[in-house]
């Protein structure tokens, strides 16, 4: 297809305190006594006040999700096997947390009905059967995972999402009050995932009015929150949640660019997490995104954020080569950023110099 036919999430509820409506939203989705399974970010493990607000019924279960590492296909398969062994069938999977928890909720929701290993479905449109009911409740803003049709997984041979129309959530709940206790550093890195995404897509060569309108709004909200606001407040949580949503929607007809392509190399070799990895790289990209990087540096300064430096110091030539190979493998990102002739522009030597600066 020339233009992508974009699958939307089924339902959106937005509002400060809308989490209290979870029970009534889930009620019509319950199938007999098959339980609802709540995947909850380990951040909430020791927060009984929050956990007690999850409306458990019958055999419903809370599964605390370890997010030390980004989601793996083995982790997805094990979660699925455990749920199958314990319950046979489930009514649905509700992911409450950051991007990793949401991606796991999507992946396990799909694997409850699709046979084999999740690694079999890493790619585009390989999932053939609808999963169980899936809901995403972000507790940190910026990833856009709430509206995407993918769930990024590290598999035996590659890091790649299960991209399909079945992957998109049936329901998302956007309650900005859930994000109010996120530590400032983590909040910043994740918000910058959205900001950097917008800069890259708006300056890219792939773009149309649909994605542009979403991307511009998301970027404008990020700038208002991080450059103009005097202090963090409910309004900031509300706007950042909308920025994340709009940034996610903008991906429909756009693509990311240099920061993402370079940071995938860091993630692969060093396990650097997505949000902070993008910040580490973007900080050095003045020549590609002069206006965006200037604003980024102003935000970093205003919010007293420490961007890690010298993380590639002491790496071997072989290690640099690994990162370069991974990064140059992301052809669509480079083409979006630099045009058809990107291979002439971003040579291995130039990319090596860039990695050395990080």
């Amino acid at each position: 297809m020339k233009f992508r036919n974009f699958k939307m999430v089924g339902y959106v509820i937005y509002g400060l305190g809308s989490f209290d409506q979870l029970d009534e939203i889930l009620a019509p989705q319950r199938k007999g006594d098959a339980p609802m399974i709540f995947f909850v970010d380990e951040y909430f493990k020791d927060k009984p006040a929050f956990l007690s607000r999850i409306p458990l019924q019958g055999k419903d279960k809370i599964v605390i999700i370890d997010v030390t590492h980004e989601p793996k296909t083995t982790q997805v398969d094990k979660l699925r096997d455990d749920l199958k062994a314990a319950f046979g069938e489930v009514s649905g999977i509700i992911g409450i947390g950051g991007g990793s928890v949401m991606d796991l909720a999507k992946a396990v929701g799909l694997m409850m009905t699709n046979p084999g290993s999740s690694a079999d479905y890493q790619g585009w449109d390989l999932v053939k059967v609808r999963g169980v009911y899936k809901m995403g409740i972000p507790t940190i803003s910026g990833t856009g995972a709430e509206v995407s049709r993918t769930c990024v997984l590290t598999g035996p041979t590659r890091k790649l999402g299960m991209n399909s129309d079945f992957t998109t959530f049936d329901q998302i709940m956007l309650d900005p009050s859930l994000t109010s206790s996120v530590p400032a550093n983590q909040r910043f890195y994740t918000a910058m995932d959205c900001f950097i995404h917008c800069v890259e897509s708006l300056q890219g060569t792939y773009l149309n009015a649909f994605s542009k309108s979403y991307g511009e709004k998301a970027q404008e909200l990020c700038e208002e929150i991080f450059l103009e606001k005097k202090q963090w407040d409910d309004d900031a949580d509300e706007k950042l949640m909308m920025a994340s949503y709009a940034g996610g929607m903008s991906i429909a007809y756009s693509q990311v660019g240099v920061a993402h392509a370079v940071s995938y190399g860091l993630a692969y070799l060093l396990g650097t997490k997505h949000g902070i990895g993008n910040c580490i790289v973007f900080d050095k990209l003045e020549e590609f995104y002069p206006d965006g990087v200037k604003k980024f540096k102003a935000m970093v300064k205003k919010h007293n954020i420490e961007i890690p430096q010298h993380i590639t110091k002491g790496l071997t030539d072989e290690q640099f080569d690994t990162m370069i190979n991974v990064s140059l493998g992301m052809a669509p990102l480079w083409e979006n950023a630099l045009g058809k002739d990107w291979q002439q522009i971003m040579t291995r030597e130039r990319l090596r110099k860039l990695y050395e600066q990080l």
Copy 2:
């Protein structure tokens, strides 16, 4: 529910020329030899070049829709009866046109599976059964009907939509090239439906960050197109289509205001169409929306639009009373615009004076 759980359209395809993908999008929705029915605005009746682009297969049928008057429940029921008599079942209804055609496509799509008359379902959440597959393809921008969960119908006792989650389209196709031949006056009135909606909702007392972000973007796009652009071009068609979509999305958590409340009275008594009716009223609302009306007047001037004047001249007291009764019946609109005490602010006398100015 405190916060509305907003049903999204199933799929969105956006792009200049995306209409050429209609055949492949419909293919998986065909059920045996049951036809796809294309409701086409009478504007295209004598445009064979356009009609021949509709990908007819088997028993598929084009039904030219008379849009002289706004949609009626009797019209919906008759279209449904005719289709049932001719085909028994249909695979889907595709509405190609303005807001009236889209509303008819939604209504007939629902009535193919729901018993009785469409008048039985005017209200909120009265539709209990999913309709057939429904798709909306706007050929004029501004109504927002492409994303709404209603279809406004004039019935035996009232003008009211079939508001339900089943009403929302399964698919929308946003191809700005389809709007490029709309006459400038009609385009302006319909675009102002979007602009006025945004002014009313952004200045209203009901609003949250979700609707605000969509409403701001839609208003900004309208201002860019109608105040800044030197001449109409593809970019204007693209942006106006996005403004309409964003304006429609913003209704999720907002409400319209004075112009809509007053123009419903005109529509009821005089049959004034929605787009032009809103313009006639908004033109006189400086005291309620000073900034918005100032911009509106600048757009009117720049585009040489003639806003009808003195349309209520010579009406009887009884006729004024009818309009006033209809208008004051729209309590949520007045409360959104003027707050809880709206009845003290907008007295019958004041509203009569306002109607006399039109």
